[in-house]
Amino acid sequence: MATLADSEPLDASGGSDWRAGGIWVGGLLAVLGMYMATLYAPTERTMSHAQRIFYVHVPAAWAGFLAFGVVFVCSIGFLWTRRRSYDLAAQASTEVGVVFTTLAIISGAVWGRAAWGTWWTWDPRLTTTFMLWFIYAVSLMVRAYGGPGSQSGRFAAVLGIVGFLDIPLIHLSVVWWRSMHPLPVVVRSEGFGSGLHPAMLQALLVNVAAFTLLYIALSGIRRAQLVAADAVAARREEQRIREGTLAREGTR
């Protein structure tokens, strides 16, 4: 009877802790950023305190678009090399990106309500962000319902590429459409003040840096989870095959 050699244990340590470190640093930066947003930055002229949501809205939108850019690059990488690591990186970035984009949409709506009384303005940049959210949502649907993992990953990659190239065209078409009924100057997000006060810019940059770091750390953690899930599935498969082989040898 064959003896079961011990197989290598799965590495469950999660690799080096740079991701956890990233969360700490990003979190601290975000706290600093929130302080700067609420107390450090001066009050805006036309919208008063409501404008402070801008310090969440813009960095969140930035992170959402950055995440989609990463999805684009990883999608190309996946279709080119077929290495699963690209697929998993794209998936992680999609999942984290949709969270940031949702935050951007909600904060944009809240800002609109607080500053101008309406929950939604068809401001081109906000609208494009909303369309990005839809493309993310469809990506998640494709990954969930697109068939077995190898197929849905491939389809999600195609969508990642098509979607990314589509965003500028969506934006252009919304801008052109909007030019038919231009929003009053004060409602347009470009329209507040003429340029940013340096303290505002500093607050904004700190928050952008915080969100960027959080995006990197969060998607890194998510990717590690997906890699681990993969390893477990592969190990189970190996186990099943090994048991099958032993059973066969046993009947000889």
């Binding site: 369309m131 494709v142 389809f155 190239l165 919304v174």
Partner: protein
């Protein structure tokens, strides 16, 4: 066989099958007419309102009708494994994209030729004066719809939610076509010149070019296992 010959052969196959059954065209036409009628009931546009509402009604109807044709055209290939057979031929799988795209485009244009006058008649909007610009907008927009629609149709036919996935994929990604198409038609019906709709035409052309190229290049990855 040359690439053109191959695409021609693929297109011939689609058209012959469709001509004999006429399933796709019938479905698209009946559906379009129905939606047009429902829209008219919903909005009851006065002659003054009609030019404002017609473009939106038209493009929404076309968007939905196109999903009918697009999905049926790949179900044809999926049912008896014909798509696998197509992948065994000694030609570039991108030619399959070209063939399907042309077939879907022809179906969509056929529906438009019938739908637009019918809609205009029902809504009481005079179209003949602006036939030129309207035709250009329709053709450019239709190319865009089928360029991305063919990619997504090939994808969604392989999933268990195929009827749902295709429109869900198509509509957000075809947004530039729908937005620009509506906007351009509104301008035309309000009496604008070619110059006024030039930005929109540029967007439509850019969309068409980008996604025809992307579709052609990426299609083999959609089919491959």
């Amino acid at each position: 066989m040359s690439a053109v010959g191959t695409v021609g052969q693929l297109l011939w196959k689609d058209l012959v099958v469709e001509w004999r059954g006429r399933e796709i065209l019938t479905a698209m036409l009946v559906f379009s007419m129905l939606v047009a009628v429902v829209f008219n009931f919903a909005f009851s546009p006065s002659p003054a309102d009609a030019p404002r509402l017609l473009p939106g009604m038209l493009w929404v109807t076309l968007a939905f009708a196109s999903t009918l044709g697009l999905s049926r055209s790949f179900v044809l290939e999926h049912d008896h494994g014909a798509i696998e057979a197509l992948r065994l031929f000694p030609f570039d799988p991108s030619l399959i994209y070209a063939g399907k795209l042309l077939a879907n485009l022809l179906y969509l244009l056929a529906v438009e030729i019938l739908l637009l006058p019918a809609l205009a008649a029902i809504a009481g909007v005079p179209l003949l004066a602006s036939a030129g610009p309207l035709a250009v907008i329709l053709v450019l927009g239709s190319i865009g719809l089928v360029a991305v629609g063919t990619i997504f149709s090939a994808m969604s036919v392989n999933t268990r939610i195929r009827e749902v996935l295709l429109p869900v994929l198509l509509f957000p990604l075809a947004a530039p076509v729908l937005i620009s198409g509506v906007r351009a038609m509104l301008s035309v019906l309000a009496g604008a010149s070619w110059g006024a709709i030039l930005p929109g035409l540029r967007i439509l052309i850019a969309f068409d070019v980008v996604f025809l190229v992307v579709g052609y290049v990426i299609f083999e990855f959609v089919l491959e296992e």
